[in-house]
């Protein structure tokens, strides 16, 4: 049953859920339905994390299960030319000088589960690349990630460059990293800061009104 899938994902039953997905595809279930269950399952993981039931390894496991399911579904989705509708668009990257990606990648997995289209620019991303991508895909949100304090200056620079390019007004900008505080948020000129992917996503949802 396709409904089972979300539950198996939330419970991190890797082998069972992959088997279930393959069975559903064989029996002709609409891949979009499976995608929806997948999202639901990932949202469940996000909830359990927020409640303190799950920790980072569980979320990483969830993201890994989700990756494997999407791999199975990819040819099906391409064949049926299904377009997945989105709630909003996020451009995200780890800022220049910082090469860490774990927090960012967890955030991306949960953003996708929450129905956002995400453009991941990777790590050590120069401010110019953010400006270019924002011009190209016109996102609602920009997410700037970093693990080390050195990211502060790059976050500031990126936001200044977006401002200079006249793009700042149309965007909400959130910065994510364990060292960030209200003081650093103010210093770099972002709209919000967060230490946690789930909290950050709540913020983003409240901005877009979904």
């Amino acid at each position: 049953m396709v409904e089972n899938i979300s539950k198996l994902i939330s419970n991190l039953k890797e082998n069972e859920v992959l088997e279930e997905v393959r069975k559903e595809i064989e029996s002709g279930t609409d891949p979009l339905k499976i995608v929806n269950s997948l999202k639901e399952g990932m949202l469940g993981i996000g909830e359990l994390w927020k409640e303190g039931e799950y920790f980072v390894p569980e979320v990483i496991m969830g993201a890994e299960i989700s990756r494997q399911i999407m791999e199975i579904l990819k040819p099906e989705l391409e064949r049926s030319r299904t377009k997945i509708s989105t709630k909003g668009c996020v451009v995200i990257g780890t800022v220049r000088g910082d090469i860490h990606n774990i927090g960012k990648n967890i955030t991306i997995a949960l953003l996708q589960a929450a129905g956002f289209e995400v453009f991941n620019l990777g790590e050590d991303v120069p401010s110019e690349a953010f400006v270019e991508k924002v011009k190209e895909v016109k996102p609602n949100i920009v997410g700037l990630s970093g693990l080390l304090t050195l990211a502060v200056e790059s976050m500031k620079e990126t936001i200044e460059k977006l401002q200079e390019a006249g793009l700042r007004e149309q965007l909400k900008i959130i910065i994510g990293g364990p060292f960030l505080t209200e003081k650093t948020r103010e210093y770099v000129g972002a709209d919000a800061f967060t230490h946690s992917a789930t909290e950050g996503i709540e913020k983003i949802k409240s901005w877009i009104g979904v």
């Binding site: 920790f55 390894p57 990483i60 496991m61 774990i102």
Partner: protein, 391 residues
Amino acid sequence: MSKNPEELFKERCQRLIDVRNLKEPDYTPFYLVTEEWSVYYHGKYKVGEIHYDYTKCGEVAEHLVRTIPQDAWGGPQWIWPGPMLDALGSKSYKIPGRDLDPNLQEQFPQDKEYMTPEEYPEFIEDPFAFMIEKGIPRRHFELEKSPRKEIALAKGALEFNKWWSYVGSLVVKFIQEYGIPPIVQGLAASSPLGVIEDHFRTFPGICLDIKRRPEEVKAACDALVPVLVKMAEIVYEAPTPFPYIFIPLHIGQFLSPKDFEEIYWPSFKKLAETLIKDGYTPHYYAEAKWTPYIEFLAELPKGTVWIFEEVDFEKVDKLCDNLCFGGTLTTDLLRYGTKEKVISEAKAQMEKFGPRGGFILTVNKDMMDPNDGKPENVVALAKFINEEYRR
């Protein structure tokens, strides 16, 4: 009347010994571990230059201990010297000037797994052999094949010796001229799970292993304990007055309390107990949030030092009468606070936790970036402590 270096050295050592032994010292010890921050503070060189020029590195370190007098020197600005990493062909460190902008800090991306999950049984069987025969060669492209391997090893050992004897000469100089004892002598260990994460499986990799093969992960941690003890003994064969072992922690605090207890903690505790019994002081840098794990720490024998990045200090004070802690000053305060605010908070913290004995006034992170503290704040704090508070 100012004290001579010998007197200063003696009283500083006593202070550090006292707090480790949980005895109230004459004054709360104060020190900062300032890695690349000291390069920016010195202002003359790029970080990348320092990695390859030990004289410049020494100049930076001396500027720090001269202008910001502290009860201990936190060691040089990084762990491994650039020429050694180059000689071995290291794949795992990103060095400024070589792989990164020369004015940035060294980074350790963990972007590749150097052991497959299927190799756990082999690792558990003999972790030392696995490390030497597979782990290290895979992480260094010069060590993959003979005869390049033998040449690279000889070159690497030579570079390491050059570096290590230079650090040794700095230690002696700082003791003789400034009366400042070293606490971190350059080589870092980690928790057993941290070693597997850092050098073999990466952070996401170890997270998946914990979920998919918890028994093997636990067995691998247990098997590593004697190897890590042996390594500490080799590295710290002739401990200077401070046989501290610098242990950054960056995995346990991300686990659920259940996984922490079952997988992470048994080998962690065993390693701590053995190191203490052998006369060492584990000096932990507890990154990220630690409040959920405080109860575990209370089980450790006396003789560990904990610098926390983020924790409920009141709770640590209340529950852990077995350990010495620090980290109450934040980089945020040092960066965005005023001098007056920094001084008043530091004073309040020393008055609050000083009398408990096991307390060090220090900042909650290794200072690596200019944004980890405004120089004028740090200088003012050291001046206040040395010239006003201790008068």
